[in-house]
């Protein structure tokens, strides 16, 4: 996972940008290709939900309470007669939105903290890292749960809570990368020719750190999705009537005989998490220059 090596000019890939090399390797990786296909389907179905979904997600059918899967309702209906397939399709929008936003937010905030900590060093580094270590002592879900309790349960707050809980891991990663890169020759050279701190950080350090951040971001997408679903499951995430996979799974607990009520939303979480895991593994392998042979 030597990103610096990927960014360095290589004999064979002088004209090809590093991200394209990684993307090609991911597409050739059998798990990566599978993950990309699954995630593409999830994204497309979520984006075009109004065109694809057979019913309105809020439409209550008083004649079809907890109807089992049938030709009219492939995934059955919930306790209000709403079509579960439709709500699973719309639920994907919410979950993907939270995953993308919270991971992006955590990457930005974590990077700033990690860059400052690693670059400035001294007591600033000591203080920031002690705070990060203290945050890491909180189990991820417990920290997210408590922050949601402070902010109040809704979609945006769940996103912020998950992002805050994720910041320490990104900050640690960036700091470690910066500490390694600080002593690399081209950084010393840039410093010697009078590059400013801002230029050193954003022009030289940041681009070299980004690669590993993207890998780690894809690896942590699955954990983010599971946490978002867990928050919604516990009633502290997305508020009803907005469809959310985690909340839909929790509704099944009130109707044990209607297995479909929790099975299909859970299956959607499982398949998407699996795809994120596969993608994370594939990206990690693709970034590993040793794997190139």
């Amino acid at each position: 996972m030597d990103n610096a090596a990927l960014n360095a000019p290589a004999e064979t890939s002088r004209s090809i940008p590093p991200w394209l090399i990684v993307a090609r390797r991911v597409c050739r990786h059998y798990l990566g290709a599978t993950a990309l296909v699954i995630l593409a389907i999830v994204v497309l179905v979520s984006v075009f939900a109004p065109l694809i979904a057979p019913y309105d997600p809020s439409y209550i059918n008083y004649d079809r309470f907890l109807a089992p899967p049938s030709a009219q309702h492939w995934f059955g209906t919930d306790e209000l007669g709403r079509d579960i397939l439709t709500r699973v399709i719309y639920g994907g929008r919410v979950s993907l939105q939270i995953v993308v936003l919270s991971v992006s937010l955590a990457i930005v905030v974590g990077s700033v903290i990690g860059l400052v900590s690693g670059y400035v060093g001294g007591w600033v580094d000591g203080l920031l890292m002690r705070i990060i270590d203290a945050m890491l002592a909180f189990p991820f879900l417990v920290l997210a749960l408590t922050i949601v309790a402070v902010l109040g349960p809704d979609l945006m707050n769940a996103t912020i809570a998950i992002a805050i809980a994720k910041v320490p891991t990104f900050a640690r990663l960036v700091r470690a990368e910066v500490l390694t890169l600080r002593s690399v020759e081209y950084i010393s050279a840039a410093r010697a020719i009078g590059a400013s701190h801002t230029r050193l950080i954003f022009r030289h350090l940041w681009p070299n750190v980004m690669g590993n951040l993207v890998v780690f971001g894809s690896l942590s997408a699955s954990q983010t999705l599971i946490t978002e679903s867990a928050l919604s499951f516990l009633g502290l995430g997305v508020r009803p009537p907005t469809p959310s996979w985690g909340y839909m799974v929790s509704l099944g607990m009130d109707n044990w005989l209607s297995w479909w009520a929790s099975f299909f939303p859970g299956l959607a979480i499982f398949v998407t998490v699996l795809a994120f895991n596969f993608l994370g593994d594939a990206v990690r392998d693709a970034m590993d220059v040793r794997a190139e042979g």
Binding site: A137, P139, F140, V142, V150, S229, L234, W259
Partner: protein
């Protein structure tokens, strides 16, 4: 080794202080007036003011923090705003349930993960290895709350083998107690087993290529003795570390699992307290969970140093 332990303990002091600050700050930031929770909606402004004085809520925040920390160090975590029960007592009542659930989950995980890891490592890159590895990859993708519900649907609703949820103390009915703890332990344990399996597989593969394993085979020892007596003993050292480092993940698992299976543990206490805005209980529970994580991390570091002499030499002892 003593100096390593002392240095780790000294490092722990600022960490503990900052974690307590975070716990205190989070609960202070909780929305809503605590006196509404204490006195109800109908209390007058004067009654609220008296309550604020009585609970020290009018003091500056640093003073509130120091007072709270001082009391916490002596085991006084305050009283629940709802039941007026002592928080430390509430924790003491629930800790055994969560600890039992965690231990049973680890046992399930080790019972599944270690043999599966050894089987996969003994025939690397075969259909068996790929099958076991694929199972591990899929089981980490199943969220606790879904696997818990699936287990209830299968073993309780469909087959009727075990009760779906509830709790009976072991002193009242041991058989029923373990029947009720079976599904929660399986819920966390099967997911955790995947991590142990992956680590065991990697460790056994690494150890099996060592010279002393070749020597053991050259001596004519059976493959079973080589694997289980010589290889596994060394391969399990990193597995112990994985178990220790995953304690936070296991505690997160108990939050969801205890809610699904109606177990009166720490995780469910935290969720209930968050919904009830019972901030002394939230503070106490968070403090307990963080302390457990910090203590287990410390023990893991020390245990790893004892188990692996190379770490001891690196630290200069």
């Amino acid at each position: 080794m003593i100096s390593f332990i002392i240095s780790r303990l000294l490092n722990l002091i600022p960490l503990v202080l900052i974690t307590t600050m975070i716990v205190f700050t989070i609960t202070v930031l909780l929305p809503g007036d605590p006196t509404v929770t204490i006195l109800g909606e109908d209390a007058t402004a004067a009654q609220r003011e008296i309550a604020r004085e009585q609970y020290g809520l009018n003091d500056p925040l640093p003073v509130q923090y120091v007072n709270w920390l001082g009391r916490a160090l002596t085991g006084d975590l305050g009283r629940s705003l709802h039941s007026n029960e002592r928080v430390i007592q509430m924790l003491m009542d629930r800790i055994p349930v969560s600890i039992e659930l965690t231990i049973l989950s680890i046992l399930v995980a080790v019972a599944i993960g270690v043999p599966a890891g050894v089987i996969a490592a003994r025939s690397p890159n075969t259909i068996v290895d790929l099958g076991v590895s694929f199972l591990a990859m899929t089981s980490v993708a199943i969220p606790y709350f879904w696997s818990g519900i699936l287990l209830i649907l299968l073993f309780s609703v469909r087959l009727g083998l075990v009760p779906p949820s509830g709790f009976i103390p072991i002193t009242e009915d041991p058989v029923q107690h373990f029947r009720l703890m079976l599904l929660p332990s399986l819920t966390i344990g099967t997911s955790f087993a995947a991590l142990i399996m992956r680590q065991t597989r990697a460790s056994v593969l690494q150890v099996m290529s060592q010279d002393y394993i070749r020597s053991s085979r050259a001596k004519g020892l059976s493959e079973r003795v080589v694997v289980f007596k010589h290889a596994l003993r060394n391969a399990l050292i990193p597995v112990v570390t994985v178990v220790g480092l995953q304690i936070g993940g296991l505690l997160s698992g108990t939050v969801v699992t205890e809610t699904i299976f109606s177990l009166p543990g720490i995780g469910r206490l935290l969720v209930d307290a968050i919904f009830a805005r019972d901030f002394p209980v939230i503070q106490g529970t968070l403090l307990f969970i963080v302390s457990i994580v910090l203590i287990v991390n410390l023990i893991t570091d020390i245990a790893y140093m004892i188990l692996d002499p190379r770490i001891r030499y690196k630290t200069g002892n």
